[in-house]
C-alpha cells in the first residue's frame, strides 16, 4: 500500500544530479528521502559515504559526492506547523523557499532572509547559511532558525537550538550538510502587508561611489549592486545600486504564478564572450536611463530576476560556469575590491551578473558561516579551461592577501591550502562531521575520506 499505483513508469536510466554551475559533474547514486523515517534506514548496506542534497542550486561541488550516495531531500516537503501570532513555521527540510512563499505570502508573511533564487530547500539554506540583500540588517538565514532536528547516520536524533545541543546547532548552520540529516527545521517568518517592494535604482561610477551609497542606505532593508566588470577606464566599476523596502501600503497578497519560460537548450561555448557580455552590461547599465529610478515593484523580479527562466544556467553551455564570491573585511575591503575588479577587467574574461554588496555586522550563528562584515563580490565566468582556472586561482590568492574568504556554496576550484586559510576553524568543525557523510567539496579541501 505504501507504493503508489502511479509509479507506472518503468525507468532504467541512471539518475543524474548536477550542481547549478554544472562543473564539476560526478555520477552519484540518488537515495530519495520521502519521509523523516526513511533516514537513516536508507543507508542500510551503504559504506561509500553519503551527502544530503536538495535542489542542487549551489554552484560547485558542495552538493556532489563522487562515487557516493546523494540523499535527495526534496520529497520531504511537508509543512508541520505555523503560528501566525509569532510567524514561526516548522517544516520538513526538503521544502523549498518557493513552496514556503506560496504558503506564507497569501497569509501576510515573508522569508526573513532570501537568496537570489527561491528554488533552494530549507535544509540547503541552513547548511550553506545563505545570505540575502538584507544581510546588513537581518544577518544570515541561520539567525532566524530557532530550532531543527538533526539525525546522525547511527540513528541518534537530537534537537538543536541556541540553547539545546548548541554546539551541533552552530556546526550544522553553514555545516554543508556534513553534520547529519536535518529532517525538519523551524524558521521565523516576517510579516508583510504587500507583495510590492519600494524600489530605488541609482547609477554609480567606481567603488567609492558604491561605498557612499552603502553608507547612505544603512536603514534600507534590502541593498545590492550590480557592477560591470568588463569595462575599464572611465567606466571602470560602474554599476547600479539597487535598494528596496517592503511596501507598507496594504495590497493584495496573492500567490506567485508558476514560471513558464524554460531555457530550452545548452548554448554553444562561444555564446558568452567578451563582446556579448560587454554589450549586455552596457545595455543593462543604460536600461536605467536616468541616474536614479524609483518604482513600486513586485517582489519576484526584485529578489528572483533569474528564476523567471528555469534552467538559465544552460546559457553557459555544457561546460558550465565558475562562480567566485569573496567576503573581505572592512579593513581591506575597498582596496581589495578595487584590485580584484581591476584584475578581472584586465583578464578580459567576461563576467556578467557581478554582484556587489556590503555585509553588516550581525554575527552568524554558524561556526563555518561565510559572511563577515565587509564587502562581498560575486562573479560568474563561463568555463574556458586555459583561462578561467588560472584567473580564479589569482583571485583566490588576492582574497587571502586581503584577509577575505570564499563561499563554499559557490566554489568549485579553491585549493585545500586556501580553504584551510580561509576557515582556520575547519578542524574544530570536522569533529562534528558525521563519519558517513562527506562531499566532493569536503574531500577536495581537506583531503579527508569517510572513515567507514
Amino acid at each position: 500500500m505504501a507504493q503508489v499505483a502511479s509509479s507506472e513508469a518503468e525507468i532504467s536510466d541512471t539518475p543524474r544530479f548536477e550542481s547549478w554551475g554544472r562543473y564539476p559533474t560526478f555520477e552519484g547514486k540518488i537515495l530519495p528521502l520521502h519521509w523523516q523515517s526513511d533516514y537513516p534506514r536508507v543507508l542500510e548496506g551503504v559504506h561509500n559515504g553519503a551527502l544530503p542534497v536538495g535542489m542542487g542550486r549551489s554552484y560547485g561541488d558542495v552538493c556532489l559526492l563522487k562515487g557516493g550516495n546523494l540523499l535527495l531531500t526534496t520529497g520531504m516537503n511537508r509543512l508541520l506547523d505555523f503560528d501566525p501570532a509569532t510567524g514561526l513555521l516548522t517544516a520538513e527540510a526538503g521544502v523549498t523557499l518557493a513552496q514556503i512563499l506560496d504558503f506564507a505570502v497569501p497569509r501576510g508573511f515573508f522569508l526573513p532572509v532570501t537568496p537570489g533564487t527561491k528554488y533552494v530547500t530549507l535544509g540547503g539554506a541552513i547548511a550553506n547559511d545563505i545570505h540575502g540583500k538584507n544581510h546588513h540588517i537581518a544577518g544570515t538565514f541561520g539567525s532566524h532558525v530557532t530550532q531543527f532536528g538533526l539525525v546522525r547516520s547511527d540513528g541518534t536524533s537530537m534537537l538543536c537550538s541556541p540553547t539545546e545541543n548548541s554546539d551541533y546547532y552552530a556546526a550544522t548552520i553553514g555545516g554543508l550538510g556534513l553534520t547529519g540529516v536535518i529532517p525538519w527545521a523551524q524558521v521565523r517568518l516576517r510579516p508583510i502587508v504587500s507583495r510590492k517592494i519600494d524600489y530605488r535604482g541609482i547609477q554609480f561610477h567606481g567603488v567609492d561611489e558604491f561605498l557612499d551609497l552603502t553608507r547612505q542606505s544603512q536603514h534600507i532593508e534590502y541593498t545590492v549592486s550590480w557592477v560591470d566588470c568588463a569595462s575599464t577606464g572611465k567606466n571602470f566599476a560602474r554599476g547600479v545600486f539597487m535598494e528596496g523596502d517592503h511596501s507598507k501600503v496594504p495590497d493584495e497578497l496573492k500567490p506567485s504564478p508558476e514560471p513558464k519560460l524554460v531555457f530550452p537548450f545548452d548554448a554553444p561555448g562561444f555564446a558568452l564572450n567578451h563582446l556579448t557580455v560587454s554589450m549586455f552590461n552596457t545595455v543593462f547599465f543604460h536600461k536605467q536611463m536616468k541616474r536614479e529610478v524609483r518604482a513600486l515593484q513586485d517582489y519576484e523580479p526584485f529578489f528572483y530576476p533569474l528564476d523567471k527562466v528555469l534552467h538559465w544556467n544552460r546559457m553557459y553551455g555544457k561546460r558550465g560556469l565558475l562562480q567566485f564570491q569573496y567576503a573581505i573585511p572592512w579593513e581591506h575591503a575597498r582596496e581589495g575590491t578595487i584590485a580584484i575588479l581591476r584584475e578581472v577587467a584586465k583578464s578580459g574574461l567576461a563576467s556578467f551578473l557581478a554582484v556587489l554588496k556590503a555585509f553588516g555586522d550581525v554575527p552568524s550563528p554558524g561556526m563555518m558561516s561565510f559572511p563577515q562584515p565587509g564587502i562581498t563580490l560575486a562573479l560568474d565566468f563561463p568555463i574556458k579551461p586555459d583561462v578561467s582556472f588560472p584567473l580564479f586561482e589569482r583571485l583566490a590568492d588576492m582574497t587571502l592577501e586581503f584577509g577575505g574568504r570564499l563561499y563554499p556554496a559557490k566554489d568549485a576550484a579553491m585549493t585545500a591550502a586556501q580553504f584551510q586559510a580561509f576557515y582556520p576553524q575547519w578542524e574544530q568543525f570536522a569533529r562534528f562531521r558525521d563519519p558517513l557523510l562527506t562531499s566532493s567539496f569536503w574531500e577536495r579541501v581537506t583531503g579527508d575520506r569517510p572513515s567507514l
Binding site: M1, Q3, V4, A5, S6, S7, E8, A9, R16, W35
Partner: protein, 274 residues
C-alpha cells in the same frame, strides 16, 4: 461592505456566482472528503489542494508515522478538520467499521477518494501465484469491498463522488506488468459497471487513469522532464471531481496513446516489447 458602491458589490456577486457555476463542488458541497491511501504521492498532492480550500478530510493509511506527517501538513495548509485512521485496507473485514467511523467523524461525505494500491513485483508474480494474488487483492478486491459499501451509502444519500485511481496499465495487458494491469483492468471494469448502476441515483463515479508521474523519486531521472508533474496531475483530478467527470486520463495525452495501444492487432501486439 455597505460603503462599497453597489456596482462593485454586484460585480463581486456576479463573479462568485460564475465561480460557483464553474466549481460547484469544492467551495460548495464537496467539503467532506474521505481519502483512502492518503500517504500516496498523488493523494497527498491532491489533498494539499483541498486543504488550501478549507475542506474537511478523513485520511486512512497503513503507516501511522507517515499519516501523522501528512495530516500535520494538511492542517497547516488550512484544512478545516483533519482526522485520521491507521488501517491496512487489505483487511476487508475491517472496512465496514472503518468507513462508518470515518463518515461519522466527517459528519457526512461528499467525496471518497481511493488512492491506495501497489505496483508489485511482476517478475516475482510470473513465478509465484501468491505475489499475483497479493497485487490483485490490494488493487482490486480491497477497492471492490470499499466501493460496495461506499456506493450503497451514496445511493442512500442520492449524492456523492467516488473518485478512484485505476491506471492506463489496465487498458491492455502487457508483459512488463500484466498482474498489476489485470488488477487495474478489473477495477476499471467494476467502476464502469458501478457508474452504470448509480449514475441515475445522483452518484458520480470517476475512473482516474494516470500515466507516468514525476515525483521526488523520479525527478532527477533522464527524460523525467516529460513525465507529468504530480501537482499538475492533482489539479486535473480536483477539476475532474468538480466537473462530475466519468473518466480521466491524466495527463490527457494518454487517452489517444491508449486508444492506439488498445487497437494494435493482437498478432502484432504479442510480438512487441511493451
Amino acid at each position: 461592505m455597505s460603503t462599497q458602491p453597489s456596482t462593485a458589490v454586484a460585480a463581486q456577486n456576479f463573479q462568485s456566482s460564475v465561480e460557483a457555476a464553474l466549481h460547484p463542488s469544492v467551495r460548495g458541497r464537496f467539503t467532506k472528503i474521505l481519502v483512502l491511501g492518503a500517504t500516496s504521492g498523488i493523494a497527498e498532492a491532491t489533498c494539499r489542494i483541498w486543504a488550501a480550500e478549507g475542506a474537511s478530510l478523513f485520511l486512512v493509511a497503513r503507516n501511522a508515522e507517515k499519516l501523522a506527517a501528512v495530516a500535520a501538513d494538511l492542517r497547516t495548509r488550512g484544512a478545516r478538520h483533519v482526522d485520521t485512521a491507521v488501517a491496512d485496507l487489505d483487511d476487508t473485514d475491517g472496512h465496514t467499521e472503518l468507513l462508518a467511523h470515518a463518515i461519522n467523524t466527517l459528519g457526512g461525505m461528499d467525496v471518497a477518494y481511493l488512492a491506495h494500491g501497489i505496483l508489485g513485483d511482476q517478475a516475482k508474480a510470473e513465478q509465484d501465484f501468491n505475489q499475483a494474488a497479493q497485487i490483485i487483492h490490494t488493487n482490486l478486491m480491497a477497492p471492490v469491498s470499499l466501493l460496495t459499501w461506499l456506493a450503497n451509502y451514496c445511493v442512500q444519500q442520492h449524492a456523492g463522488v467516488l473518485a478512484v485511481i485505476s491506471s492506463v496499465a489496465g487498458d491492455r495487458g502487457r508483459k512488463s506488468n500484466y498482474a498489476y494491469g489485470a488488477s487495474k483492468a478489473g477495477l476499471s471494469a467494476f467502476l464502469g459497471g458501478l457508474r452504470n448502476r448509480v449514475d441515475r441515483e445522483g452518484v458520480t463515479v470517476l475512473t482516474i487513469k494516470p500515466g507516468p508521474v514525476r515525483t521526488a523519486m523520479t525527478g532527477q531521472m533522464k527524460g523525467s522532464e516529460r513525465f507529468a508533474d504530480v501537482n499538475a496531475v492533482a489539479k486535473s483530478i480536483v477539476k475532474a471531481i468538480d466537473g462530475h467527470q466519468d473518466n480521466l486520463y491524466v495527463p490527457f495525452q494518454w487517452q489517444p496513446i491508449m486508444f492506439i495501444i488498445r487497437n494494435i492487432p493482437e498478432r502484432i501486439f504479442k510480438k512487441l516489447n511493451l
